[in-house]
C-alpha cells in the first residue's frame, strides 16, 4: 500500500515536472506595458531616474549623448544619471558589481567582447521578452545581421541595443584625388587613373605617390602603438580580407597560418611602414587622427566612430575635403574579386538583471526610444553618423552624406571579435607579436610566439578540451535570424 502511494507520488511529480518544463517559455513572459511615445505624448516613467554606467571612449558617443539623450529626456521626463569610467577600468567595475549581484546601475555600457564575461555572472537581462511585451521603436531588424549579432547579442541571446557599431572606413583627401595635376602626374607615373585604392596593391602605389616628406605629406597611417590597436588595424584592414580569422571551431588560434603571416608581413613590412609619417611605430588613437586632421596624410584607415569628428570644421583642418570609401581589400587571384572583410565591434547598452522589474521596464523604455529608429535619424541628420539600415540607405541622407553608403557596405562585411572572458589577454599577446615584427623580429618568429602564447591562454582557461566552440560570424548570423523568426520580424538578409 505504502509502496503504491510512493509510486503514484513519483509519477505525479514526474508528470508535473514534464508539464512545467514543456510549457515554460524560453524566457519569463512580461505583461505588455506602456512606453514613452513622442507621437502621443505618453510619459509613463516621468520623474524617474535611470542610472547608467558608461564610458565615452570614442567621439561619436559624446555626439550621440548630446542628441539622443536630450531628445529622450524631453520626450519622457526621465532623469538620466550617468556615471562615467575610463574604458580600461569599466569592465572590472561591472564584473565586481555583477559578481555581488549588485543593482547599483540599471543600464551598463558593454563592449562586444565583454558580454560573455557578464553573461557568465548572470548579470544581463535578455531583451526578447520586453520586445514581445512592448516593441516600441526598437526595430532590431533595422541592423545588418553582422552588426546586430556582434554588438547586441551573445550567442543566441539578445541583450543590448547598440550605441555604436564601429566598422572600418577609409578616409581620404578629396582635394588631392580630384586635383588635375595630381591625376596627370599619377597617370604618367603608373599608367592608370588616380582613384581611391580598392586593393592593397593600389594602396601601395597611391601611398608611394603621395609620400613626399619634403612637403610634409605621407601616403597613409595606421596604429602600431599598443598591442590592441595594432591588432585591430591589422585585422580590420588586412587580416580578415586575406582570409585570416581569430580561431577555428575548436579555439585553436590561427595566427601562424600562411594567410596570417602574409598579411602580417605586409602590414609590418619596411615598404609599407615607409609610406607613413615618422614616429609610426608608436602611433596610437590620437596620433593617426591628428595626422589626418592636420593634412599630413592623404589617406587614413579609420573607423566609423571617427566620421563626425573628421567632418567637424572645429576638429579637422581638412573637414571640407574629407571623403570616405570602403576599406581596400585583397584581390582573390582565382576569382579576381576584391575580398573585403573587416572588424565590426562596438558597445551596446545592456540591462542589469539584478534590478527590480519596474526599473527593467524603465531601462527598456530608454533603450527602445533613445536608441530606436526615429531618434537614429536625428543623429544622422546632425552629424552624418549612424549604424541603422534605415539611416544608411535613406536617399535624402545619402545625398547629404555620401559616405553612408560606404558605411553600409562595411556593416555588411564586419566580423566580430571573440567575446570570451580571456579575450583581452589573448588580444594583448597577438598584438605583442605584431609589435615585435614591427621592431624587427622576423614575422614567422614573432607570430609563432604569439600563437604559442594564445594557445597557452586558451588551454589555461580550459577552452581547448572540446567543451567550447568558437562562434563564427556565419553562426552569429544564424542566431540573429533565429531571433528575428522568434520575435516575428522579417529581414531581407535572413530571406524573410
Amino acid at each position: 500500500m505504502k509502496r503504491n502511494r510512493l509510486v503514484i507520488f513519483a509519477l505525479l511529480v514526474l508528470v508535473l515536472t514534464l508539464g512545467i518544463a514543456s510549457a515554460r517559455p524560453a524566457f519569463a513572459q512580461i505583461e505588455p506595458f506602456a512606453l514613452t511615445d513622442p507621437a502621443s505624448g505618453a510619459r509613463p516613467f516621468e520623474g524617474q531616474t535611470l542610472r547608467i554606467i558608461n564610458t565615452e571612449v570614442v567621439p561619436i558617443l559624446a555626439y550621440e549623448h548630446e542628441v539622443l539623450d536630450a531628445a529622450y529626456v524631453e520626450a519622457s521626463g526621465v532623469i538620466l544619471d550617468y556615471t562615467n569610467y575610463d574604458q580600461g577600468a569599466l569592465l572590472p567595475v561591472l564584473q565586481t558589481m555583477c559578481a555581488a549581484q549588485g543593482d547599483d546601475y540599471d543600464i551598463m555600457f558593454v563592449e562586444d567582447g565583454w558580454a560573455g564575461a557578464l553573461e557568465a555572472l548572470d548579470c544581463l537581462e535578455p531583451l526578447e521578452p520586453y520586445y514581445m511585451a512592448a516593441p516600441g521603436d526598437s526595430h532590431p531588424e533595422d541592423y545588418t545581421l553582422r552588426a546586430f549579432g556582434t554588438v547586441a547579442m551573445h550567442n543566441e541571446t539578445w541583450y543590448g541595443m547598440p550605441t555604436l557599431v564601429a566598422v572600418g572606413m577609409f578616409a581620404y583627401r578629396t582635394d588631392l584625388f580630384s586635383d588635375p595635376d595630381e591625376q596627370a602626374a599619377f597617370q604618367a607615373q603608373y599608367g592608370r587613373e588616380l582613384r581611391v585604392p580598392e586593393t592593397w596593391d593600389e594602396l601601395m602605389e597611391v601611398g608611394q605617390f603621395f609620400t613626399r616628406p619634403d612637403q610634409n605629406l605621407y601616403g597613409f597611417n595606421y596604429r602600431y602603438g599598443t598591442p590592441n590597436n595594432i591588432l585591430f588595424d591589422y585585422m580590420i584592414h588586412f587580416g580578415f580580407s586575406r582570409g585570416v580569422n581569430f580561431f577555428d571551431a575548436n579555439f585553436t588560434p590561427l595566427f601562424n597560418t600562411e594567410a596570417a603571416l602574409d598579411a602580417a608581413a605586409f602590414f609590418t613590412g619596411a615598404d609599407f611602414l615607409a609610406l607613413q609619417p615618422p614616429g609610426r611605430e608608436s602611433f596610437q588613437f590620437g596620433e593617426v587622427l591628428q595626422n589626418f586632421t592636420q593634412g599630413v596624410v592623404a589617406m587614413y584607415g579609420t573607423e566609423s566612430w571617427a566620421i563626425p569628428l573628421l567632418l567637424d570644421p572645429e576638429a579637422s583642418t581638412v573637414s571640407d575635403v574629407t571623403g570616405f570609401a570602403p576599406i581596400p581589400g585583397w584581390r582573390n587571384p582565382e576569382t579576381g574579386e576584391v575580398q573585403r572583410a573587416l572588424l565590426s565591434a562596438g558597445p551596446a547598452y545592456m540591462v542589469n538583471r539584478n534590478i527590480s522589474p519596474e526599473r527593467k521596464r524603465l531601462a527598456w523604455d530608454y533603450l527602445q526610444l533613445a536608441h530606436g529608429m526615429q531618434f537614429a535619424r536625428l543623429l544622422a541628420e546632425q552629424y552624418g553618423a549612424g549604424h541603422r539600415i534605415s539611416v544608411l540607405t535613406d536617399p535624402e541622407l545619402v545625398a547629404q552624406y555620401p559616405h553612408l553608403t560606404a558605411n553600409y557596405i562595411a556593416m555588411q562585411v564586419g566580423i566580430g571579435r571573440p567575446s570570451t572572458p580571456w579575450w583581452p589577454e589573448a588580444e594583448n599577446a597577438l598584438g605583442q607579436g605584431l609589435q615585435a615584427a614591427v621592431a624587427g623580429t622576423p614575422v614567422e618568429e614573432a607570430m609563432g610566439a604569439a600563437q604559442a602564447e594564445v594557445e597557452r591562454i586558451v588551454a589555461e582557461n580550459g577552452y581547448n578540451d572540446g567543451t567550447f566552440t568558437y562562434v563564427t560570424v556565419e553562426q552569429r548570423e544564424v542566431f540573429v535570424c533565429q531571433l528575428f523568426a522568434r520575435i516575428g520580424v522579417s529581414s531581407p538578409e535572413c530571406g524573410t
Binding site: G88, A89, L91, P92, Q95, T96, C98, A99, A100, A117, A120, L121, N216, Y224, G225, T226, P277, P278, G279, R280, E281, S282, F283, Q284, E287, Q290, N291, Q294, V296, P421, W422, P424, E425, N428, Q432, Q435, A436, V438, A439, G440
Partner: protein, 301 residues
C-alpha cells in the same frame, strides 16, 4: 580614598603612561588602513585564485608565484624596471646633487632660482608625460621643429626600441632631480662651517674638501634621498603610461604598468598580487640595506 578619587587617580596614571599612544593612534590607524592592510591583502591574494567575476577564491598555494617567475614578459619587465631604477635614481641624484652644490655658490637670487628649479617636481606626472610627448612629436613637436629648422633630420625617439627607454628615463630624471636638489640643498645648508674653514687654512683643494668633508657628513642625507628616489622609481606608472604605454614592443614597460594590466585588463588579480609581492620584497630588501647603512652611520657619529 573614595571611588571617584580612585577613578581619577587611575585615569591620571593611564593618561601619563599612554599619552603618546593617543597622539600617534590616528596616524597609526590610518597607516594600518591605507598602507598595511592593502599590502597584507594583496599578498594574501597571491595564494588564492581571485578574479573580478567570481566570488569563489580557491587556495592555490604558490601557483601564482611559480607562474609569474617563469613568465618571460614578467622577467623582461622586471629587468626593465631594475634598469629604469638604476638609471633614473643615479641620474636624478647626480644632477640634483650637482645643482645643489652649484646653488650654494650663488648668492644673488638663489631663492628665486630654487623656486624655478623645483617646478618640474610640482607638476603632475601625467601633465609632464603629455607635455614631453608633444615636445617630441615627430611632426608637430617643438624639438623636431628646431631640428628641421637647423637642417637636421626628424627624430622619432619614442617610436624606436633603441631610444624610447632612454627618453622616458631622461624625462623621469628631469622631473625628479628637484627632489634630490631640495634634500641635498637642505643638507648642505645644515653642515657646520668649522671643518671647512679648518680645511681651507690647511690648504685643502675643492675636491679634497668635497671628498673628505662634504660627502662623509652628508652621507645620511644622501641615503635618505636615494631611498626616496629608489622607492619612487620602482613604482613609476604615470609617465610611462602617458608617453609610451609600455611600448614599443614592451621596452619601456615597468612593473607597475604590467601588474596593472594583469589585474585590471586581464582579470588576473592573484597573479598581479604575486608580482606585486615579489616587487615589494625586492624594494624592502633594498630599503632595509639602505636603512641599515644609514643607521650604522648615524650610530657611528
Amino acid at each position: 580614598m573614595s571611588t571617584f578619587s580612585q577613578l581619577r587617580f587611575w585615569f591620571y596614571r593611564l593618561t601619563q603612561k599612554y599619552t603618546h599612544w593617543f597622539f600617534i593612534a590616528p596616524a597609526l590607524l590610518t597607516l594600518l588602513l591605507v598602507a598595511i592592510y592593502p599590502i597584507v591583502f594583496s599578498t594574501g591574494l597571491s595564494f588564492f585564485r581571485v578574479t573580478f567575476d567570481s566570488l569563489q577564491r580557491p587556495f592555490v598555494g604558490l601557483e601564482n608565484f611559480v607562474y609569474i617567475l617563469t613568465d618571460d614578459d614578467y622577467l623582461k619587465v622586471f629587468a626593465n624596471t631594475l634598469l629604469y631604477v638604476a638609471v633614473t635614481v643615479t641620474g636624478s641624484f647626480v644632477l640634483g646633487f650637482g645643482v645643489a652644490l652649484l646653488l650654494r655658490q650663488i648668492t644673488l637670487g638663489r631663492n628665486w632660482l630654487r623656486v624655478i628649479l623645483i617646478i618640474p617636481m610640482t607638476m603632475a606626472p601625467m601633465a609632464v608625460g603629455l607635455t614631453w610627448n608633444w615636445m617630441l612629436d615627430p611632426l608637430f613637436g617643438l624639438v623636431n621643429w628646431f631640428f628641421t629648422t637647423v637642417g637636421l633630420p626628424i627624430q622619432t625617439w619614442l617610436a624606436q626600441t633603441a631610444t624610447a627607454r632612454a627618453v622616458v628615463m631622461l624625462v623621469d630624471i628631469w622631473q625628479w632631480y628637484p627632489l634630490v636638489l631640495l634634500i641635498m640643498d637642505a643638507g648642505l645648508a645644515a653642515l657646520p662651517r668649522a671643518p671647512y674653514e679648518a680645511a681651507r687654512l690647511e690648504g685643502a683643494s675643492w675636491w679634497m674638501i668635497f671628498r673628505r668633508i662634504t660627502l662623509p657628513m652628508l652621507r645620511p642625507v644622501i641615503l635618505v634621498a636615494l631611498l626616496l628616489r629608489t622607492v619612487d622609481a620602482f613604482r613609476t606608472f604615470d609617465i610611462v603610461r602617458v608617453m609610451t604605454d609600455g611600448g614599443p614592443n614592451l621596452t619601456t614597460e615597468t612593473l607597475s604598468l604590467f601588474l596593472y594590466r594583469t589585474a585590471f585588463n586581464f582579470n588576473k588579480l592573484s597573479r598581479a598580487g604575486a608580482g606585486a609581492t615579489i616587487m615589494l620584497i625586492v624594494i624592502s630588501i633594498i630599503s632595509a640595506l639602505m636603512f641599515r647603512y644609514l643607521y650604522r652611520e648615524v650610530e657611528q657619529r
